[in-house]
């Protein structure tokens, strides 16, 4: 039976297949000191590690029985732990100590040690990604560590940076925005406007039926006077206000000049 955990521990007891009796025995042993222990079925946990509310806050991960974890699974469990948190795994007699030690190390654990009765214990390293490394060729100089946190003058607030996981800090994958408004309008689409009089609508319908690409649009259209909201994408008056009734329809000087 494992020893009881200290009262301020936040622990998870991991199981794959076990009887309720054995689990409650283990829970009882662990919680006699007043610790908080949460029961987690291993496969369900592995599916949703990133969303777990205790992510990054667990002090002890304990295996209820030999779990047969591979390197990749161990790596997924690592971020659950707080830096410095410990994992305790019982080993099956068939498992090689060295193989598991190697897997734990490659997964990012440190301090892998064998405890008595076939238990292996390891820790999540204290440092997080990006912490300072010792200076090499230059002397360290006066240890002026000037630091300001966002919670500078905020006593009584938690350190909010601890709420973020590595996944949170990684930049999102974003599709590049299309280049802004070419003269042809929205991202290459060449629409016919309503009440189309220049024949683009018929061409588009014919092209859609024939499966061919729409041919180049003509410049005349029945809707130029209405304003940009109704002009077709090849209208020479795009960017100008709607015409007032009776206003001469002229293209301002310079508009006909090529942009390039």
């Amino acid at each position: 039976m494992p020893a009881a955990l200290t009262a301020d521990s936040v622990a998870m007891l991991l199981w794959r297949e076990a009887t309720p009796e054995s689990l409650s025995e283990l829970m009882a042993a662990l919680t006699t000191g007043g610790a908080r222990v949460q029961l987690e079925q291993l496969d369900r946990l592995l599916d949703s590690v990133g969303q777990h509310p205790l992510f990054g806050g667990v002090t002890d991960l304990i295996g209820a029985h030999p779990l047969g974890l591979g390197r990749e699974q161990l790596g997924r469990l690592l971020p659950l732990l707080r830096p410095g948190g410990a994992v305790r795994l019982p080993l099956a007699s068939s498992e090689s100590l060295e193989a598991i030690r190697r897997d734990l190390t490659l997964a990012g654990f440190v301090g892998v040690e064998a405890e008595g009765d076939g238990m292996l214990v390891a820790r999540r390293p204290e440092y997080a990604l990006g912490s300072s490394a010792p200076l090499k060729s230059l002397p360290a100089g006066p240890a002026k560590v000037w630091q300001v946190s966002a919670n500078d003058d905020d006593d009584g607030l938690i350190d909010t940076d601890e709420l973020l996981t590595e996944e949170d800090r990684a930049p999102p994958v974003v599709a590049a925005a299309p280049s802004c408004g070419e003269a042809s309008g929205a991202a290459g689409k060449k629409r016919a406007c309503k009440n189309c009089t220049c024949g683009l609508a018929e061409e588009e319908a014919a092209a859609a039926a024939a499966g061919a690409a729409a041919p180049a649009p003509k410049s005349s259209c029945g809707n130029c006077y209405l304003g940009d909201a109704f002009r077709c994408s090849s209208c020479p008056y795009l960017g100008l206000p709607p015409f007032k009734p009776g206003e001469a329809v002229t293209i301002p000087a310079g508009r006909l000049a090529a942009d390039l």
């Binding site: 230059l138 938690i158 309008g185 909201a229």
Partner: protein, 714 residues
């Protein structure tokens, strides 16, 4: 839910649950969905934390959905209404309200991963140590061992919430506020009713790409939770909404507004007897007078940049005039509330020719969540005053604008207006097109966002719809002008009578639009001659100034140099403009990198830098980079600040590694901050003996701890 008694209202509540939902007491309808008898529906709060109005607009869209279904709900900023919801759920308040709290919130991230000003108090509460894990859980304070996934149970949790963050992934701290808040609430035991949604300015279709699905999810959740029975689902585009305010014409004397033009062709902006827009004193806003407005770039240079000096102005003839600014630190900003240009206002007034510009209006409360705006003139604003000083008509309209304009065109919820026959077919066309813009984010982006089309230009394209805008719907359609921030470019830590701003006047041609795009605030300040009165507010900046004995590397190309002018003076002993021959004892070195086009065209504060290099040669060094030099500037090739940083990499590494120095980068967002970070990393690698991964890791850690700061603006 109280429907206001407007005289011309023909509204009928669309759903038959106006009395049942949200008014407390077991609603009969809730028994259809919850097996527990007489279960009270939750208390609904829709809130926002918004710096520029984007998150607020999103929250308002969700509020309109709730309103259109007759749901009783609190609406406001997270500071206004979120705190109560959180405290009630956490039992911090001695209230008898045992209902579950349902909080729908939209919050953006600003500065260096900081919460916007109107949710700072809420943030302090949510992140407070006195809220213990599980306190929102509802089963006592410990999490149940039978609930392995830890997300508070949806039925018993004291708080359920849906959260969407608004951010920009070109920043390192992308949506940090929403991410942290979401995790914190879950850890406290609240139930997250839907996954965290993250809206990103850099998405192909902008923030709407994430917001629209989120709005759908929230609508479905509200429909289910409050057993809304309604024929329409989703956003209910055709459901009538009462106006946000009651707006009536007052039959009083009309006002006279005036603008004077001085001989120097600089406009002295005086908005008549009504005065400029001035929010109440507790918001921190005050009036300021322009003392000087000087162009600091060469006349033949394409960029017009001004050095603008301002002094506090008296608020009224009776109150004693404050002649000094409150003390401020380097890195602090001045927020300015600009007004629209006269030409833009006249053009819009002619589009709204059916409304009288000079009649005074009374704006009073109609919705319990919207007290009347406190910054309107007491005598009652005129339409001209509102379009000049209050409503933003030069911003790019958002989707909600088109939704509202369509409702106005269709007279939904109002008495139907008559149209002529020729207008009628045009109206149908406009309504259809407005609907297309509402439904198709891509169409909207092509029409509005990419060309940067303004509200005024949009209304010009929809004249018949615009002719149906009533006074009562003005506040539904248009949004108040948001303030713009400028880094203060002068010293003021012990109170001073004037401060300086360095303002680059924004003017560019967008593809497609024939008129150039003008930055609202920069053009407003540029045209405000000496004597003009403007509405401003001092704000603490997001920069944390290191102690004076920490060496500094300051990178400020272009107008980014503005906050460093005050910073350098303060560090090396200049107090309020009086120079000191000997630098302040104990001050460490400062290395400033400044970049601009040409030494004779836009070398901001050149005389100051030369003077200080002369005064403090051991402490202060300026490295310049000119990107469009001519052959007689002593520099042959195009050079940017990042190139100079690499060139002086040994000095940079020495200051940072040996001296424990810090870096501050200020200026335009985009490529510059990335290039500078890369150059500093190169300096650490080449001259500091680290490999690239170590240097990158160090810089990431420095950004987290505030040793590498960025103050960038777009």
């Amino acid at each position: 839910f109280q429907q206001p008694d407007t005289p011309h209202s023909t509204m009928v509540p669309p759903c038959n649950n106006g009395e049942e939902s949200g008014t407390g007491g077991g609603g009969t309808s809730s028994q259809l969905h919850h097996p527990e008898p007489a279960r009270q529906p939750p208390q609904l709060t829709i809130a926002y934390g918004s710096e520029t109005g984007v998150a607020q607009d999103a929250a308002l869209t969700l509020y309109n959905f709730a309103r259109s279904h007759g749901l009783n709900c609190r609406f406001g900023s997270l500071d206004e209404v979120g705190i109560v919801a959180l405290e009630t759920a956490a039992d911090c308040l001695p209230s008898n309200d045992l209902r579950q709290q349902l909080l729908i919130a939209a919050c953006s991230t600003t500065g260096q991963g900081d919460p916007p000003a109107n949710m700072r108090k809420f943030w302090r509460l949510a992140m407070s140590r006195r809220l213990t894990q599980g306190c929102l859980h509802g089963n006592g304070s410990s999490q149940s061992a039978n609930n392995p996934h830890g997300n508070g149970d949806s039925a018993t949790a004291r708080l359920r919430f849906c959260l969407i963050g608004f951010g920009d992934s070109s920043y390192l701290q992308y949506n940090f506020v929403a991410k942290k808040l979401h995790r914190r609430l879950c850890l406290l035991g609240a139930n997250s009713a839907c996954p965290l949604a993250l809206a990103n300015d850099q998405d192909e279709l902008g923030p709407d790409q994430a917001f629209l699905p989120f709005a759908e999810t929230v609508s479905a959740l509200l429909t289910d939770t409050f057993s809304v029975r309604c024929a329409c689902v989703g956003s209910c585009l055709d459901a009538p909404l009462p106006p946000l305010y009651r707006v009536e014409a007052i039959a009083a004397e009309k006002s006279t507004d005036s603008t004077h033009t001085t001989a120097a062709n600089q406009v002295v902006v005086v908005v008549g007897a009504d005065g400029p827009r001035l929010p109440p004193p507790e918001t921190g806003y005050q009036l300021a007078r322009i003392v000087a407005n000087k162009r600091v770039t060469a006349e033949d240079h394409f960029q017009d940049t001004r050095l603008i000096t301002l002094s506090p102005a008296p608020t009224s003839a009776e109150s004693p005039s404050p002649t000094l600014w409150s003390p401020f630190q380097p890195g602090d900003v001045l927020q300015v509330l600009p007004s629209n240009s006269q030409s833009a206002v006249s053009s819009l007034l002619s589009t709204l020719s059916h409304l009288d510009p000079e009649t005074r209006l009374r704006v009073s409360q109609s919705d319990p969540n919207f007290p009347p705006p406190p910054d309107l003139p007491p005598a009652g604003p005129t339409l001209r005053w509102l379009l000049t000083n209050y409503f933003d008509i030069s911003c790019v309209p958002r989707r909600s604008f088109f939704e509202t304009l369509r409702r106005i065109a269709m007279c939904i919820g109002d008495e139907v207006a008559t149209t002529t026959e020729e207008d009628s077919s045009r109206l149908d066309m406009e309504i259809e097109r407005l609907g297309e813009f509402v439904r198709d984010v891509d169409e909207l982006a092509a029409y509005c966002n990419r060309p940067r089309r303004t509200v005024a230009e949009t209304l010009r394209d929809f004249p018949v719809s615009a002719s149906r805008i009533r006074l009562s719907r003005l506040f539904d359609l248009l949004r108040p002008i948001q303030p713009r921030s400028f880094s203060i470019a002068s010293l003021g830590q012990s109170g001073c009578s004037s401060l300086d701003l360095l303002v680059a006047v924004v003017r560019y041609k967008s593809k497609l639009m024939s008129e150039p795009r003008l930055g609202l605030c920069s053009n407003y300040l540029a045209s405000a001659g000496p004597g003009s009165v403007v509405t401003v507010r001092l704000q603490r900046g997001t920069l944390r100034v290191p102690p004076v004995d920490v060496p500094l590397v300051l990178v400020g190309p272009g107008t980014g140099i503005a906050p460093f002018r005050g910073l350098v003076q303060q560090r090396h002993g200049v107090v309020n403009g009086q120079g000191d021959e000997a630098p302040a004892a104990g001050s460490a070195q400062t290395l400033v990198f400044f970049g601009c086009r040409h030494p004779e065209k836009d070398f901001y504060f050149q005389s100051d830098w030369l003077e200080w290099s002369r005064l403090w040669p051991d402490k202060f060094q300026l490295a310049t980079a000119f990107s469009r030099p001519t052959s007689d500037s002593g520099q042959q090739t195009k050079c940017y600040v990042q190139d100079r940083i690499r060139e002086l990499g040994a000095d940079v590494a020495k200051l940072l590694l040996l001296g424990g120095g810090a870096v501050i980068v200020a200026g335009s967002s985009g490529a510059m901050p990335r290039e500078v970070l890369s150059a500093v990393q190169a300096a650490l690698t080449v001259h500091g003996g680290f490999d690239e991964a170590e240097a990158a890791g160090m810089l990431a850690e420095w950004q987290r701890t505030g040793r590498y700061q960025m103050e960038t603006w777009s």
